[in-house]
């Protein structure tokens, strides 16, 4: 029925099956949209957030998807600026994921603020000293770049490409893509970093505060570096997942190996830096403020110190070790385990650096408070996932996301 739109030479499931999938995921999406509208119309009282737990589930999801979407900027940087040419076979996928992640992130930000209609004040009345201003600017600009990177992909749809102007536009945009990618990498560097800076500059919060250089706390660099390390893992994770779902090999193993190797190295260096940072913070920064490391984790009714171990060892050191060994990379089960652990690891990191910052008590006479998200929060957090799945489904069906697909599946 829609065969005219499907890229030449590839096989896709029947339209009925596709439509059914869209309807199912679309149902979840609508549920999320309903919750989102509730939040917009009735306010943030629809959530279970409070003055002691003011950053919660979806803002974690926000930072999470930005970190996971980091694959786009880093792969783009490697492909267009550094010149790792093989990566052209996976860059489209990275861009698509990046586009989904960043559009979701912006949407979540628009839901998370108490006065969405005034959200643009962050640009208009910008306070240049605030890390959040930096985040907002770089995030929106980088989203523009991602859109620019995604547009040619859309224009390469079989039917659209027939329009001469679209064809030319796609072509011309490809020509100057390196400039956009470089700008994107620059912007992404800053917003990933400033997201880390958001926590690191809070000198009233000993759990978050870090020393640093100039105006940037160490978390600034750790966030950028972790996005670079873990983002590609998510690209690999999604690619792998799509391969499993479609039952097709979509990207050649050497491309996967290359990205996994690069990711392994960045992750390895990152986790060393993270360990040093944690150690210095625990041994010097916190004690100077009268606190021991364990003070931040005791009193928590749920997970205590285990969250730190899970983040650094289980989901940091282990995946890095797997990705750094050729054997680990080439064993598909091990590789999948590694990229999955890595994704969980970066999500834990973002959880810790956003939610706990506010929840860990600072005054001696206060306690940790527990927080359980409301269904509206859960639905609104699932909303971008559903949206992402739909966009991936449509893009995969109608756009040439994987250039090697035809060759690998003759």
């Amino acid at each position: 029925m829609d065969s005219a739109l499907i890229p030449e030479g590839v096989k896709r499931c029947s339209f009925g099956k596709f439509a059914l999938g869209i309807i199912i995921v679309g149902g979840v999406l609508l549920w999320g949209v309903y919750a989102m509208l509730l939040v917009w119309l009735k306010g943030l009282n629809q959530t279970n957030m409070n003055d002691f737990y003011g950053f919660a589930l979806w803002i974690w999801a926000d930072l999470g998807v930005i970190a996971l979407g980091g694959g786009a900027f880093f792969t783009g940087l490697l492909r267009y600026v550094i010149g790792k040419d093989e990566l052209k076979n996976i860059i489209n996928c990275a861009v698509l994921i990046g586009f989904i992640c960043y559009s979701s992130a912006l949407l979540i930000l628009a839901i998370d603020i108490g006065q969405p209609l005034r959200g643009w004040f962050i640009f208009w009345h910008a306070n240049v000293h605030s890390m959040l201003t930096e985040v907002a600017f770089c995030l929106s600009c980088y989203f523009a770049v991602l859109t620019i990177e995604y547009i040619p992909l859309i224009l390469e749809n079989r039917q659209l490409n027939k329009v001469p102007f679209f064809h030319n536009l796609a072509h011309n945009m490809h020509e100057v893509m390196a400039i956009f990618a470089a700008t994107g990498a620059f912007l992404s560097f800053f917003h990933q970093g400033s997201l880390g800076g958001v926590a690191g500059v809070l000198y009233g919060r000993p759990f978050a505060v870090r020393e640093g250089i100039f105006i940037w706390p160490w978390t600034f660099f750790l966030f950028t570096w972790s996005a670079a390390a873990y983002g590609p893992c998510f690209t690999l994770f999604v690619t792998r997942l799509m391969e499993k779902i479609t039952g097709k090999k979509l990207v050649k193993q050497n491309v996967i190996n290359l990205l996994a190797k690069i990711s392994g190295w960045t992750m390895g260096t990152y986790i060393i830096a993270k360990i040093i940072d944690t150690w210095y913070w625990a041994a010097a920064t916190a004690p100077a403020l009268g606190l021991n490391l364990i003070d931040f984790y005791s009193n928590n009714p749920f997970y205590g110190i285990w969250i730190l171990i899970a983040e650094i060892v289980v989901c940091g050191v282990i995946p890095a070790a797997i990705l750094l060994t050729p054997k680990g990379r080439s064993n598909s089960t091990l590789l999948f385990t590694a990229v999955s652990l890595a994704c969980i690891g970066v999500l834990i990191n973002r959880w810790v650096m956003v939610l706990q910052v506010m929840a860990v008590p600072v005054m001696t006479f206060e306690n940790w408070v527990m927080y359980i998200p409301s269904w509206q929060e859960v639905a609104t957090t699932i909303l971008p996932v559903a949206y992402g799945v739909i966009l991936v489904m449509i893009s995969f069906r109608y756009l040439p996301i994987f250039p090697q697909e035809r060759e690998l599946n003759p």
Partner: protein, 728 residues
């Protein structure tokens, strides 16, 4: 024209792009933010002309001066009056939230007549004329049947023109049943009556004392005139004066004192006498008092029956502490002992009051700086002699329903006995007037009080608010609130110098309400005859002006009259009046319930953040209540962690609190500041009336306890009740 897919797409894309470069989207974005800054459902208080005026707060007996800030005809803030002798600018949180009572949703806006069942909340709005004729008809019928003594009234206190109008009304009508809400004033008054033979209230020169020994009085929890006590407490801190607090729970007062001595509750009198023993034995007593009547008998009593070891056993306080406390107290240059637990809403054990007063006398601080003085009852009410007709004469011959003056000869009013008398069929009333009081909430065993009220055929409430008593009335004749009316406010609450304030209309009446004084006079006039003659004034305001005489001008100008002289506590002091004889064999006031079924003891505690009298907490005040006192819809009980461990109750757990009088669901708060084996519950919660900000929150302590008659005074002496806590 055929619109193809492509042209449609071009139209949409082009249209969007075209719109984007027009100012429209930007204008809309800007407009929407401006709209969000001016949401019509977020109020914008109108500006206007600013003014202020002085008045007096009547929300508690404290008598603080207030200054209200106004914008046009709206009062926007109540503040403490600077330079006022009681509070000098400071004000408690109830006083500060007064506007929520004035403008709040709990006001009764017009006379209401019950149409549904009692307490069902179905009312008919009626006019004042109808309301007054309704009451008049009833009263005329009863009077003509010779049942005039079956009409009673409950008012907040016995001083001031309004209570006296009620009293005069009942007297002229022919009923002795003028009842007042109980408090420690009753016990202090009786103590002075018995030990000095004078009719006065005790006044304390607290500010000048240098060693304050408090037998559980909530000095900073609302005892006496609260703000005045707060100020005295601060002065003690600043000048290094000592405060010793004796009570089983680390109250705010105990925490702020220099020494907190936990005591087995109910044994305070024994401690006072034990201290007296140490003082006398060590010859630390003031020699000027040893000539007083009864001193030798008193000496014998304390030496024989209140030896340190024995008192230590009774009170649970170790001997060394007792001895050093006695010595420090006696050696202080201006020692002062006070009693009356918490805020003083329960009159308490008369022996304890007398023992504490004897302790004061022993250290020679009566009529001395920093000591005990008298505050005489209001002396400006000099109304023409009442001419009683025969009905009134015969009605006034009848015994009071509560037994005051007969069974208990020293008592003036024993509201605590009313419920039992009525419920046991020993007496009955036809009509009850309730003004400035909420007995259905604030009397111990409030359920029994409700049962008693249920059997009174005609209940008339003068309340300004829809409180529990008003909600169960047949007729509500709403009074103006204090910010809308004139009224004299004589303040007796433990002040060493008498002061009269004037509350005045700072704002015109907001609703169709009438001054209770006017209503009483209108009813009397409608009854005619001698009743009408007893009230020769045109209106309440005229009555007040005439009553106050020259004071009126001073009061109108300054807001209060205060001459700054203390009153001598006259009369010969008697150390050992007849009434004290029962102390020769000490037995603490018993608590209701058996040890086996109720292994714990429940005591109430008072918090300044919780009103437990006539008014309920306004929204601001209830908002200020901690979450360890009220959480969600539940009161929290305080128990020692040890007790918690024994019962398997942890912090925040729900539990059932059982007493012989009732049961309530509570939340457990483990508190190291409470004696093991004791459960403490805050007073002032568990309202069923008022607005949604107060109703249905927590449990009412008064539903869990019953009154215990003091054998001498007949007043309520219950300080606690046996209890049991079980897991939910």
């Amino acid at each position: 024209m055929k619109i193809g897919r492509r042209s449609f797409l071009s139209f949409v894309v082009g249209g969007a792009a075209g719109t984007a470069i027009t100012p429209l989207p930007w204008k809309l974005t800007d407009d929407s933010s401006i709209w969000s800054q001016n949401w019509p459902w977020t109020p914008v208080p109108p500006d206007g002309e600013y003014s202020q005026s002085d008045s007096v707060c009547t929300l508690c007996p404290g008598g603080c001066g207030i200054t209200v800030r106004k914008v046009d005809d709206r009062v926007v803030k109540i503040e403490g009056m600077k330079g006022h002798p009681i509070n000098d600018g400071g004000l408690c949180l109830m006083g500060l939230s007064g506007l929520q009572l004035l403008y709040g949703p709990t006001r009764v806006k017009t006379p209401l007549k019950r149409v549904g069942k009692r307490g069902e909340g179905k009312w008919e709005k009626i006019s004042w004329d109808e309301a007054i004729s309704e009451v008049t008809k009833k009263l005329a019928d009863i009077r003509s049947n010779g049942e005039s003594h079956a009409v009673g009234s409950i008012v907040d206190s016995e001083s001031g023109t309004v209570p006296n109008l009620f009293k005069r009304f009942l007297t002229a009508y022919g009923s002795p049943n003028f009842m007042t809400m109980p408090s420690i004033q009753d016990s202090y008054g009786m103590t002075l009556q018995l030990m000095h033979g004078v009719s006065a209230q005790a006044g304390f020169d607290a500010e000048n004392a240098d060693f304050i020994l408090s037998f559980g009085s909530g000095i900073i929890d609302g005892w006496g005139s609260p703000v005045r006590m707060f100020k005295a407490n601060s002065a003690w801190k600043a000048n290094g004066k000592k405060v010793v607090q004796i009570e089983p729970r680390l109250s705010n007062t105990a925490a702020k004192s220099d020494k907190w001595i936990p005591i087995k509750p109910g044994t305070e009198a024994a401690l006072a006498l034990g201290l007296a023993n140490v003082i006398i034995t060590n010859s630390l007593d003031s020699k000027k008092i040893s000539q007083s009547t009864g001193f030798e008998s008193f000496k014998k009593l304390v030496q024989n029956e209140y030896s340190t070891d024995k008192v230590s056993k009774i009170t649970g306080i170790n001997s060394a502490t007792i001895v050093s406390l006695a010595k420090n107290f006696a050696r202080a240059s201006k020692p002062l002992a006070i009693c009356g637990k918490g805020q003083g809403s329960i009159p308490g054990n008369l022996n304890e009051f007398m023992a504490v007063h004897a302790l004061n006398a022993l250290v020679g601080n009566i009529n001395e700086d920093g000591g005990v003085w008298a505050v005489t009852e209001t002396d400006y009410i000099k109304w023409p002699e009442l001419e009683m007709d025969s009905v009134a004469e015969s009605g006034m011959q009848k015994e009071r329903i509560d037994g005051a003056g007969s069974e208990y000869p020293h008592a003036k009013s024993l509201l605590n006995r009313l419920a039992e008398v009525i419920n046991s069929g020993d007496g009955s009333l036809e009509v009850i007037f309730v003004s400035g009081a909420n007995p259905l909430y604030s009397m111990p065993d409030s359920k029994a009080m409700k049962t008693a009220f249920d059997s009174i055929p005609f209940v008339v409430s003068f309340s300004s608010y829809m409180d529990e008593t008003a909600g169960n009335a047949d007729l509500i004749l709403p009074n103006h609130v204090y910010l809308e009316r004139y009224e004299d406010v004589p303040t007796l609450a433990g002040l060493s110098k008498p002061i009269v304030g004037l509350t005045r209309p700072v704002v015109k009446p907001q609703f169709n309400t009438k001054h209770v004084g006017d209503v009483v006079m209108l009813i009397a006039k409608a009854l005619g005859g001698g009743m009408a003659d007893a009230f020769p004034w045109e209106s309440y305001e005229a009555c007040l002006k005439e009553t106050l005489g020259v004071k009126w001008d001073v009061l109108v100008k300054k807001g209060f009259e205060f001459n700054g002289d203390k009153c001598i506590l006259e009369g010969d002091f008697n150390f050992y009046p007849e009434a004290m004889k029962s102390l020769s064999n000490f037995s603490p006031v018993s608590v209701e319930g058996s040890v086996i079924s109720y292994p714990l003891i429940l005591i109430p505690y008072d918090s300044i953040r919780l009103a437990n009298g006539y008014i309920g907490d306004p929204p601001f005040a209830i908002k200020a209540v901690e979450d360890t006192v009220l959480k969600d819809k539940n009161s929290c009980v305080e128990i020692n962690p040890k007790t918690g461990k024994e019962l398997g109750l942890t912090e925040g757990r729900y539990a059932f609190l059982h007493t012989p009088r009732g049961k309530a669901k509570v939340k457990v708060h483990l508190y190291e500041g409470i004696m093991p084996g004791i459960v403490a519950l805050p007073r002032g919660l568990g309202h069923t009336a008022y607005d949604k900000y107060l109703a249905g929150k927590g449990c009412n302590f008064n539903e869990l306890i019953g009154p215990t008659e003091d054998p001498v005074s007949g007043l309520d002496a219950a300080w606690g009740i046996r209890a049991r806590l079980t897991k939910v």
